[in-house]
Each structure stands twice: as C-alpha cells, then as structure tokens.
Symmetry: C2
Subunit: 182 residues, 2 copies
Amino acid sequence: MLLMNVKSLCLGILTFGEATGYEIKKAFETQFSQVYDAGFGSIYPALNQLTTSGYVSCRQEQQEKRPAKKIYSITESGLDFFLKELHKAPAKDKFRSETLTKLIFADMLPRENISILIDQVIDDYNNYVVDLSDSCCEKQSQSEKFLCGFGITVRQAAIKYMQENRHLIESASSSSSQQAAE
Amino acid sequence: MLLMNVKSLCLGILTFGEATGYEIKKAFETQFSQVYDAGFGSIYPALNQLTTSGYVSCRQEQQEKRPAKKIYSITESGLDFFLKELHKAPAKDKFRSETLTKLIFADMLPRENISILIDQVIDDYNNYVVDLSDSCCEKQSQSEKFLCGFGITVRQAAIKYMQENRHLIESASSSSSQQAAE
DNA sequence: CAAAACTATATCAAGTCGATATATATCAGT
DNA sequence: ACTGATATATATCGACTTGATATAGTTTTG
C-alpha cells in the first residue's frame, strides 16, 4: 500500500464520526465527488480488511424488517495509521476522458457524429457546473468550498475552450476517408 | 465489454499502422497522455486477447541479441470491431486527485504542510503546461492539437484558481485541533 | 396505486495499476 | 575507458478497482 486508496479514505471519513458502509458511500458521492470516487465493490471489502487489521471496530444494530446496520468507528491504531497515510506523498492527478479519446479517431467518424460528441461533453460539463453551483452554498467546511469552486472553474474553462476551438476538429473530419460502419 | 478500454484503444492505435507493444505504450504516453493512460500490465494481456479473438495478427521479427519483436497488425474483423466500439456511448469523464483529496483533511495537518501541498500541485500543473506547450507545436493532426490546447487551458485555469483561493484553506487549518503525527 | 428512488447489505468476474524481472544497446559525462 | 542513465523489448503477478448484479423492505413521487 503506497498511497491513498479506498481503504485509507474510508478511515479518513470515519475520523468525522462513526458511519455505515452506505453512509460512507454517500460521503464519496457528496464531499469527495470532485476528487475521488469509490463504489460498494471497493468500500465493503475495504471495511472488512480494516476490521481485520483492527483499524476500525464494528457494532451491529438490529433493525426490524431491514438488514442489520453495521456501524463502523475508527480505533486509536486506525487513527495512527490514517495520519501516517496522510503524510505520504500523494500520487499524480489523473484525468481520463473516453469522449476526448474518441476525437483522436475523428477521421473514422462522420462529421455529424463529432459535433454531437462535443455537444454532449459541453452539456455534461454544463450540468456538472449547475449541480455544483447549487450544492456549493450548502457546503460547511472551507476545503469543501474550495474544491467545489475548483470543479466549477476548471469545467467552465474546459467549456469555453471547446466552444472556441471545436472548429479545429469539426472541419478536419470532412475530407478524410469516410469509413462509416452501420 | 461496455465501452472503450485498453483493448479497444490498442486496436485503435493499430489502425494507424502496425506496431509492437512497446510502440503502443509510447503512443499512450504521447498522443493519448492527455486523456487516457495504460501500462504494460494492461497492454500485453490486451494484445494477447486480441490475437486470440482474431482482431489482430502478429508476426515475429527475430533480432540478434535482443528479444524478438512482435509486430501486431489489425485484421478486417478487428477494424469492424473497433468501429463498432467507436460508435458506442463513452463513459463519463473521470478525474482523481489524491492531493486535493488530502485537503479535505486539512484540519489534521499542520498549516505549513497544506501550503507545501498546494505549492506542489501548482508546480506540477505548471510543469505539465510547459511540457505540453513545447510538444504542442510538433503535433501533426488537428485532434492532437485540440487535445493539447485543452490540457494547457484547463490546467492554467486550475493554477489561477488555486493561487486566488488557496487562502481559504490555508487560514482555516490554523485554529483547529493540531493532531500532528511525527 | 404503481413506479421510482431510497436504505442497506454483499459478491463476483473482468479489468487495471504498479512493481518487478530479464537482456541488451546506446549515449552522456567524468 | 568506465559508469550510470536511458532506451528497446518482452512479460508476469498480486493487489486493487470497476461495474453489474442480487436481495429486500420502505418511502416518496407522479
């Protein structure tokens, strides 16, 4: 384990207070959505491993006609471990875009298709900005506000760039070999 | 297989001409570095699977005192498959930043540490912009120029935002509980 | 009143990441 | 001339993550 992964972040979330796996997932969707994503498939195994390692403790709360809640709390050794993780050098930022990757093969797609593709990215980013702008005001902590603003600013810059430069690829994909597949 | 993955992209790279696994890796590092990354641990297994599926053919070139080159070419059915992949809806863009994630736990780090962290991200992004600016001129295709400009613009916006708003987190982390771990 | 979304758990195959291993060649600097 | 770094070229492996799927009752929305 060289750096921050789902395991460390579950631990980090538990420093804010005890929580169930489901609640941890929600934390990833709200607080961390800008910068880190994790699904149940990573969270539940992570919590099991953390329990085995003694970094979290788990108490079960029976509920009528619902699956029992498993409420996790961070232990002392868990907090130790997390603080050590926090002091490690972080990995480089990663960005992956299948849509923009597709553009590299613009010559193989009909021109129309390219335009629709770019329209969609712009639309996605726009929606993202709107959603963030709404939720940004509700954020309590300074770091959350900072990250929220970061997400908005960066996406707005991306939208502006795409609007101003889309012609570069939209014009290029016309003359080339039109190997359209039905 | 629902969308673009390393396998499809290897196929895509081979539409530009035959190549070895090593050369495909270089393509990911240059042309695709903006938007998609893949290592040998994904590329070599992908090429094996593609060979088994009959989507690529492989001819071996013996070299004296060097491991034999395996030169891959895309087949007709491979091109078919790739074009179908290209017409599928792409996944959402993903961004992951361990550094920015750390900022959520700013209260647990000494103020100095936070400042260093932000300095580093800004520095990383700056270097990225410089590198891209250099290589941008050499790019041949329009789509590569577009992506190059995209990378520069977005990171410049990120740098500007961080410089203008870093005080939000740098001031906040002072008063709170200083649970520093050596 | 039905359909959708929410609460809450969990697993699994397939895919990806990062490190490591093996060899040799070449190029730059001392 | 030697040393170390970088490049060519392959490949594997464990650990981790992803995305889909399953189960099952409750609450909200249209």
